[in-house]
């Protein structure tokens, strides 16, 4: 979280809306521990990461959706997902990412 605070402050200083995504659970092999955090601005800017680069693209899409809808949601990425949710971790693990608007 610490490494994304400056970016978050800068975006908010520019009047942008921000969503924060945090890893809240990992099953099996996962590159990042719970607490790994990523922030996304409504302009699509990104700070931090929640995996080794495997699911960040999908998290941006979800985060922009969360900013628009103003409701938090859990996103789960991993092997166990069906094909419709085709983004996964190449390492075979499952990661649970909680995404929420920064309005707290």
């Amino acid at each position: 979280m610490k490494e994304i605070l400056d970016d978050i402050d800068r975006w908010r200083g520019q009047g942008k809306q921000v969503a924060v995504a945090r890893v809240v659970g990992v099953e099996g092999s996962g590159p990042r521990l719970p607490g790994a955090a990523m922030a996304v601005s409504d302009a699509g800017e990104v700070a931090g990461s929640v995996s080794g680069g495997c699911v960040e693209g999908a998290v941006v899409t979800e985060a922009l959706d969360v900013i628009a809808g103003r409701r938090p949601r859990m996103a789960t990425f991993g092997f166990s997902d069906d094909e419709a949710f085709s983004v996964g971790l190449t390492c075979g693990g499952t990661v649970h990412v909680f995404i929420e608007p920064l309005d707290w």
Binding site: M1, K2, L5, I8, D9, R22, V24, G25, V26, E27, G28, S29, G30, L33, P34, G35, R71, P72, R73, M74, H96, F98, E100, L102, D103, W104
Partner: protein, 273 residues
């Protein structure tokens, strides 16, 4: 208004202990509800998860996780009942950074301080010689202290714990012995001392004279560092930091290629189990 976020980010920046507990599973209207716990601040608890019973139990558990620096998801009933799974609360601890104290203001110290900063340590360089222990020589250190090792450890020793490290790079018995003896009197998780095998054999004899027993000697990693074939100060710094990580995780530190089994043994903190 982002009162909780502002308090959280201020505490993280000030390196004060803080933890955030947040509902990440459960009834839709509770998702995102938060409690912020700051043991050293007033008020100690900010925010709410929507129920006084749940708030009470989660604040207690959050303070407990923060004390050991863990981040986990725990489950409760809607009113904080144990053994219920109506809400999942992600507790994230932002513990202050671990401390590394390096005794001896030498070239190896500068390299070790740099690598330790990359790993997130709060680094103190301590040497009794004011000519060597200067800010100008160690701009990367958080603190540069001119003091004898035993004096410095008498002051900061009680705050050292399992996440912290003491590295003795002086290889001069008049500094080494008080540094090692002082560090053995703390709960520090890693204690290493630099020097050749011959230097170390002499050091062991002096430590025994100073009253250090087998249990104390077994805590001392010396000669310091992993057997990487490191030659330069920077390579040696990597060998030392590698040893600190291996000791913490209880690994023998061979190459991953030459092993079987999972790469990550911790961090299996699952949601929804």
């Amino acid at each position: 208004m982002t009162i909780l976020y502002d308090a959280l980010s201020a505490a993280i920046r000030a390196e004060e202990p803080v933890a955030l507990a947040e509902v990440v599973e459960g009834p839709e209207h509770l998702l995102g509800a938060k409690l912020l716990v700051r043991p050293d601040a007033h008020p100690e608890v900010m925010g709410s998860l929507g129920d006084p019973g749940l708030d009470r139990v989660v604040s207690r558990d959050t303070a407990g996780e923060l004390a050991v620096g863990l981040s986990v998801t725990r489950h409760y009933g809607l009113h904080g009942e144990a053994r219920a799974r109506e809400v999942g609360v992600f507790i994230e601890s932002f513990a202050p950074p671990p401390a590394m104290i390096i005794f001896g203001a030498v070239d190896f110290t500068a390299a070790l301080a740099k690598v330790a900063k990359v790993l997130g340590y709060r680094v103190t360089v301590c040497d009794a010689r004011p000519v060597f222990a200067t800010r100008a020589r160690f701009p990367m250190a958080d603190d540069v202290v001119v003091s004898w090792p035993d004096k410095h450890l008498a002051m900061v020793g009680p705050s050292l714990g399992p996440r912290d490290a003491v590295c003795v790079l002086t290889h001069d018995p008049k500094f080494d012995v008080p540094a090692v003896v002082g560090a053995l009197g703390t709960r520090v998780g890693y204690l290493g001392a630099m020097g050749s095998r011959r230097t170390h054999a002499e050091r062991v004899a002096r430590l025994r004279e100073a009253g250090v027993d087998d249990a104390g000697l077994s805590r001392l990693m010396a000669p310091i560092g992993l057997d990487l074939g490191a030659r330069t100060p920077e390579e040696t710094a990597v060998a030392i930091c590698g040893e600190i990580i291996a000791l913490r995780s209880g690994r023998a530190a061979p190459s991953l290629r030459d092993r079987d089994g999972p790469i990550h043994l911790d961090g299996h903190v699952a949601v929804g189990r």
